[in-house]
């Protein structure tokens, strides 16, 4: 029952004292162990914090809203109250619909008329000097509050006709590839470039979880509502999170919960054997299913809002249903049925392929694998299974075509999986703003310009395509993304890589946002909205950074020319003779992989029209994907008019020039951004410059040695 009197009211006090008492990580520059505030520095709350704020409602997340507002108003001399004053009109009302004061009845009725908002939606309006956020649930109110923070002063100027806001994706999940134990090769965070795990240390859960709380807050402000707390490659210690270490899961869930984030667990499909002492993990064995039901019941008891399981099965050495002659649907559904009573979801990864391929065998094509495995299973997955599909068919390269699986399973809930951690895109030593790539994927229309986009598939929006019959407009599988954070002072190693973490949450909430708009938001929050030089420099540096990275690394969609194992820096032939299925087939005459139906692996046939035809046709295939789909002579003339070999030279020279320009731009910010941020970015840019030169020279030399074709412009090739 609502009880407004139970809510405490904070009054304004000395700002610096208030800052010292904040429970989230302070922006205290003289404490080197304090993490950087990222997109939530105190200053981001200036507009809200200086207002008279009225809050109304109750519940855990409303308490979080009140705490945030209390801190902000304490810091910036505003006020917060939970009952209207007769004498002063509030500047901002943040209220649950059921508790909305009479003064905002007009907005409330506008909300009611428009139909259900969902748990996370909110309505924003401004009229008569008051900005109003109404929501039916605490999660929506929290989202609305962070929306107002993001708007800053503009939330308090012109009138706003009531606007409905709700997330496009119900499931907006960040996956952590964190290990409890430090893996001898992969480190504590697999593919992590930001120090140790924020969750685990010294063989167990960290004792101080204040950084996790700060992290939860950042994620909530960006749009994430689910977090998987361990690596999909589930090792021995981490497997125990499901049972003996369940208290650790509960402790983390307790930290995430006040910010509206539900906790998921990556589990080993072999858990019944590893943990249950059983002799099988066969999904058709009823004792196995019972074991999962019992374990899941226990998990739910400890974590009432438990999100579900994430599974990498029968891939890269992980166990799965294949061992028992079952398929992915059998495996996923068994887990789904254990979770169903509690509203849990199984995220089953489609990243399945033969990692013991013979490089001599050109008929096997790793790009085909996910489709070949999963498309035939469409319609077989339970409603609470989400098939989690990497954005491209290979593995998070800087340029890949969109995975055809996303268009191949109309009767399945599909999530697109993105990689925020920059495994193949510079490992947070290089500036590489990935939102443009993600936006491209979300906006890709597999059936052509008149058909639905990938975001329609992942959101579960009704589709104009007759073949699609989504059961429920909200049945999309959402978005999953591999986190890039760690114990690094700046969370992400490279301060500018925070933009990727921010962007993934924002795109998950609203995939129609442009990368540029997200960047502007992030930059204003992080660096302040006042300095146009900082804003425009950061925009310039980041906007084209993915194209720049692509320019000096792997040309024309060829991919995987990376150093084997750690995947940093060039290794042109690094994967050429390996079992990993990642080849470029460069010889003295040409380069690229023939994936056509006419003469290659037939991968182009996994796309619907028009893309099947476009990719198949050498003359129509987009330049940037040419070598992904075709093997061509070095002298092949691209649609751009350049030859392949000259394109390689040109982009590698210009890529380095772009990095140099980026470094020059940054040096213009000396004194304009915090010294620690400046220095860290500066240091990383120097490494990026060094590494970009290495890429340029190795790629150019490699292809010059192979082709014998000199650079038209006579530049130095070693």
């Amino acid at each position: 029952m609502p009880d407004q009197s139970a809510v405490s009211v904070a009054s304004a006090s000395h700002p610096s004292a208030a800052r010292r008492s904040t429970p989230h990580p302070p922006a205290c520059a003289d404490d080197p162990s304090a993490p950087h505030p990222a997109w939530l520095p105190d200053s981001a709350f200036a507009a809200v914090g200086s207002r008279r704020v009225l809050t109304a409602g109750e519940g855990l997340l409303v308490d979080t809203v009140r705490l945030e507002i209390a801190q902000a108003t304490a810091a910036f001399s505003g006020t917060v109250a939970d009952v209207p004053h007769d004498d002063t009109q509030p500047d901002l009302v943040l209220a649950l619909l059921d508790h909305a004061p009479q003064t905002v009845a007009d907005v409330a009725s506008a909300l009611r008329e428009a139909g259900p908002l969902g748990e996370e939606g909110f309505v924003l309006a401004r009229r008569a000097g008051t900005t109003v956020v109404l929501a039916t649930h605490g999660a929506g109110l929290l989202a609305g509050m962070f929306h107002v923070v993001r708007l800053g002063e503009s939330a308090f100027s012109a009138d706003i006709t009531p606007e409905r806001h709700a997330p496009a994706h119900a499931l907006r999940k960040l996956d952590h590839w964190d290990n409890i134990d430090v893996h001898p090769v992969m480190g504590q965070v697999e593919r992590g470039y930001s120090g140790g795990s924020v969750f685990y240390a010294d063989g167990g859960l960290r004792t101080d979880l204040s950084r996790v709380r700060g992290y939860a807050r950042l994620l909530a402000a960006s749009g994430i509502n689910r977090v998987t707390i361990n690596n999909v490659n589930v090792h021995a210690s981490e497997a125990l999170l499901l049972t003996r270490r369940l208290a650790d899961v509960a402790a983390l869930a307790d930290v995430f919960r006040p910010y509206g984030i539900r906790t998921h667990l990556a589990v080993s499909f072999a858990a019944p054997i590893l943990l249950g002492g059983m002799s099988t993990a066969d999904p058709h064995d009823s004792t196995v299913a019972s074991w999962w039901e019992q374990v899941t019941r226990t998990v739910h008891a400890a974590v009432p809002d438990f999100g579900g399981y994430v599974v990498k099965a029968d891939s890269e050495g992980q166990p799965g249903p294949f061992s028992y002659g079952r398929d992915h649907a059998d495996g996923a559904n068994m887990l789904a049925r254990a979770l169903a009573p509690y509203g849990g979801v199984v995220h089953w990864r489609a990243f399945v392929y033969d990692n013991h391929q013979d490089w001599r065998d050109r008929s096997t094509d790793r790009a085909r694998a996910a489709y070949d495995h999963f498309a035939p299973l469409d319609g077989r997955f339970d409603d609470n299974v989400v098939v989690q599909v990497k954005l491209g068919p290979i593995d998070f390269q800087v340029r890949e075509p969109v995975s055809p699986v996303l268009a191949a399973m109309p009767r399945t809930r599909l999530a697109v999986e993105l990689q925020v951690t920059q495994e193949y895109t510079g490992q947070q030593k290089h500036v590489c703003y990935l939102a443009p790539q993600w936006s491209e994927v979300m906006g890709f229309r597999p059936w052509g310009q008149d058909g639905p986009a990938v975001s329609d598939i992942t959101t579960g929006a009704p589709s104009p395509d007759a073949r699609r019959s989504v059961r429920d407009p909200h049945a999309g599988g959402g978005l999953a993304a591999v986190s890039n954070v760690g114990m690094d002072q700046f969370w992400t190693g490279h301060p500018l890589a925070q933009a990727n973490l921010y962007a993934v949450g924002r795109l998950a909430w609203d995939p129609s946002l442009t990368p540029s708009a997200i960047l502007a938001e992030w930059s204003a929050l992080t660096f302040g909205a006042d300095d146009p030089v900082v804003a425009s420099t950061v925009q310039t540096m980041l906007t084209g950074s993915r194209d720049t990275y692509e320019a000096y690394t792997a040309p024309l969609g060829v991919g995987f020319m990376v150093h084997p194992g750690h995947h940093y820096g060039p290794g042109i032939d690094g994967y050429e003779y390996t079992p990993w299925g990642t080849y470029h087939f460069a010889d003295r005459d040409g380069v690229g992989v023939d994936r056509t139906r006419a003469s290659g692996t037939g991968y182009t046939g996994q796309y619907p029209q028009p893309w099947a035809a476009i990719y198949e046709d050498l003359d129509q295939c987009p330049d940037e994907l040419l070598l992904f789909f075709h093997h061509v002579p070095y002298t092949h003339v691209l649609r751009s008019g350049s030859t392949v070999i000259q394109h390689i030279y040109d982009t590698h020279f210009s890529g380095v020039e772009q990095v140099d320009a980026m470094a020059r731009s940054w040096s213009g910010l000396a004194g304009l951004v915090a010294p620690d941020v400046y220095d860290r970015v500066q240091e990383r840019l120097e490494e990026q410059q060094r590494c970009a030169r290495e890429w340029r020279d190795q790629v150019n030399t490699y292809f010059f040695r192979k082709s014998g074709v000199p650079d038209e412009r006579g530049r130095q090739i070693f």
Copy 2:
């Protein structure tokens, strides 16, 4: 004072009971933890053990001789005594000269007339039904006993005119690259392929050193007299062996000492800083020199026969005198002066080069580095410094020219360093008998056929070359070799790799022994001398195995086409764009490194004539080193009549065929050798076959893609 009565006499008893009581590792087949007896199975002692043996002399090593004879006679129904019986004539007399019984006075006087034998020499004779071994020291007597064991029955048949035996090299050292702690990347034994360290486990010295004793015995029987007990890359825990862990050194020295082996320690040049808390390790700083003197005094007190220090300085990240503006002679001499009072030696490695080379810079040549660093220092090193020179200029490739440093320092004691552990030669998964390579190096005559051989330089033999002025005929630096043993059941991973360990000791003792003769000895000792099928199969398999390995791996001396890091399996471009200075410069036209004076790095000029001219001249350069010295078109015709490209194809196809033939040969030994040995070799041969195919296909494909030249014989290239 001699006291013959103090020596115990063992009488014959039941052989198996005697075997159970042996202190060295028994050949007990049903105990899987018992190491294989290698070249000292009980059966090797049959001839000696069935004789009436008279021993005379005293001292630690004479006791070892008596213990060995006691065990042998116990097992094979012979007798041993230390006083002559009046009634029976002994079959074998093993005596120190001072204690020789009157009955062998003739041999004793022959010995005295011929001049000093040295500590390790002995005289062997047989006349009137008695075989006689006389020595002036226990070490010589022990060596003589093992010599008789090696001769077997032939030591007891025809008369033998007194023969003098003495080791050609005074210093015959085996280096262990063992770590106490398991290194996260390199493992416990750096470049070890035989399991954990025989010395260390669980962060300290092993509690059970019985395997070390067995190892010491094997080494003594092969000819080794020095062992370095830790990695030349000295990490934190291992650095402490010099001080806090000195008791571990003493304990190992106690185990090696009864077999005539002195213990050496690899030390960090920065030890005064790391261990001494000093601010410098400058060799010209008198407090640094004093620190080393004091530490060395303590070492000597704990290990009275301490051998000395082994140092890798200013190379691959190890600290050295360069940090203080000093040179290698300054550094080495400081340590040498600390050791001199105790007869210790400094082994200073010449393996120094720039490992941060830029692959774009063709003027820097790693092959030149050791000569460039060390040749100018000739004459500057103290008498108890040995400069330890890798056999080739790069790094233990299957084919390299002999290091020119060996001919460049006539006024310096030089040791040649060999690698028994097969880092680049199949890692004990492949059969690769290395004695042919070592013999080639020992027999190489840098000044042409009329000049001295490398073995003359390392033994310190008087040289016919006028420029050489060795101060002492025994002043050579000897031989050093990196061990290949570990806790593996067969010591060396691959049972046939034991032949390399045996051979290095024998070549150290006598570099004039042929690889084939050594192989026959090893095979007879290991597998027994009775079965001609086993002997001839093993001879056939091993004799050409190095040529076979060369055939299917890196062609024509080009080297280093290995997988980076672990160095196993092909990686044709693996090191091509790295800072390690190991390139092949293959392009679409040709391959190889131009190291000529005329147009290349000038490395050929580091050799004396005639080799400087031979290597410089494309027409004279030996085929097997062509690509080491020259960059040539693929169509270049070799001295063999084949083109370079066709040679690559031919050798790679034939190399695999040779491995297949090897495997077929081995399968003929089923039932003829012990099942565990058979199975292990069989299993490794399968891996060698797999890997050889991988080498063949990758190398052939690589060069076909580059050259575009098809195989003349139309075989399959992928």
